[in-house]
């Protein structure tokens, strides 16, 4: 699971190397990446919302 999460986080920043990508595409299933990406996005939304609520005081 961790490599998938790492790849998704790399995608969010736009940083990924070729070896890792080769690895992703040869071993991973697209569905797993999509699910993890959606989950990471949700966490990202919650995190951002949390910061916004905190900042709004």
């Amino acid at each position: 699971m961790w490599p998938v999460v790492k790849s998704v986080l790399a995608a969010l920043l736009g940083v990924q190397n070729d070896r890792q990508r080769q690895h992703d595409f040869s071993t991973g299933k697209p569905a797993v990446f999509i699910i993890v990406a959606v989950l990471v996005t949700l966490i990202f939304v919650l995190l951002l919302a949390g910061i916004a609520i905190f900042a709004a005081g």
């Binding site: 790849s7 995608a11 070729d18 990508r21 916004a52 609520i53």
Partner: protein, 549 residues
Amino acid sequence: MAPKLPPQHSLQHSSTAVAGGPSQEHHAHVAHPKGVMRWLLTTNHKEIGSLYLIFSLTMFFVGGIFALVVRAELFQPGLQLVEPEFFNQMTTMHGLIMVFAAVMPAFTGLANWMIPLQIGAPDMALPRLNNFSFWLLPIAFTLLLSTLLMPGGGPNFGWTFYAPLSTTYAPASTTFFILALHIAGISSILGAINIIATILNMRAPGMRMMDMPLFVWTWLITAFLLIAVMPVLAGVITMMLMDINFGTSFFDAAGGGDPVLFQHLFWFFGHPEVYIMILPAFGIVSAIIPTFARKPLFGYASMVYATAAIALLSFLVWAHHMFIVGLPLTAELFFMYSTMLIAVPTGVKVFNWVTTLFRGSISFEPPMLFALAFVVLFTIGGFSGLMLAIAPADFQYHDTYFVVAHFHYVLVPGAIFAIMAGVYYWLPKWTGHYPNERLAQCHFWCSIIGVNLTFFPMHFAGLAGMPRRIPDYALQFADFNLLSSIGAFFFGASQLLFVLVVVLCVRGGQKAPAKAWEGAVDLEWSVPSPAPLHTFETPPVFHRAQSHD
């Protein structure tokens, strides 16, 4: 945008195509009709691609003429040429035509031509659907343009058609506007389904997803965006239709609805739509820059990942178009933060292109000139976008010419320059001739001057306080508008050069070999120039060496 008639000798196989049972059978069915019927019934991806491009070029000029009407009225203060009512119709139509009839079909046309060639497929996955989705477009936009002649005039509420101006207070023709948009939307959706089905299923044996050129990748992601948001647009215009004709109150406060809901729904579609218009441009530029720098694209993997991330994040930033509608503070902060963060993967792309140039071996053919202009001017548009993301400052920028300058920088020297770069890049493949270099350079320099003269002063006009969509303005904005108008006419006129270059290129010119550009690597350069009507009937063997590794 290339009216290249694919060669008539349709039975002559390309060198890579080997006559085989199924393909010959296939040919036996398709005894080509002649004349108009040939184009009405064609299921060939190259012919349909050309149709899309010709349609898009035509609409580019129609939308451009509307823009020139606007700029002519704004040439100096006062009402001179058109009435405010017609002015509003012109701004609205200019936006709608450019977005839905010029930029989007141009990208679809390029996708039709190039995706099968780049992945080694004989055609699109669903050729007949392809024909249908193209022919919906002329119907949709004939209908849309005809609203201008209807009693009460055409749509006059801006391309964002905010309710209730577009519902309770709209002209009678709005129902036809909705119908036209529905048809155009169906066309885009069908096109997107076709592209996804082609990319996922029709790749040459041995070509994995990670071997695909970036143009294919960006289009795959764009197609998913289209599938996700075009139905939302369809939903929102259906609600408008019901509000107008069936007495519902989705957007009418009087019946318990909410005009702000319209904006949420619209921008939930609208912001991904912005990326739909720019992601394929990223793909084109990512093909051209390595070719003419003779160096592999820097960070191919990062580019693919960043594109996917941008697409996902584009669903989280819609309300930055609505900072002044009275959102609660928390929402305002959330959308400010998410918008600022989306700048990061976008910035990474620009850094990657610049690093690709670094220590390359660079030559400046016309496609490269447009691609380089894209990088610089799109980045300027990105900078103003970053400024607009700062919510408190947006209270000053919102709905002014600063915003107009911003999105025109992103869309004209962004999307449209990328389309032109792509056309110059692939014209040798389409026609078998190089475009006339002298004329193309002339077109480039005129366009660069025209674009900047038109849109740069708009930044100042906006900061000085000029609102968007006004037919007349206070005297302190006069100088900026004068410059913009001169620039717009210059830019418009220089696009005639583009048509000239393309027409000349179709008719003749310096012969191009299969691999028309020295540094080009993708699969399309393995078929002869001009590409025969049928290519890759027997799938090519994909060599890893051609990939980006």
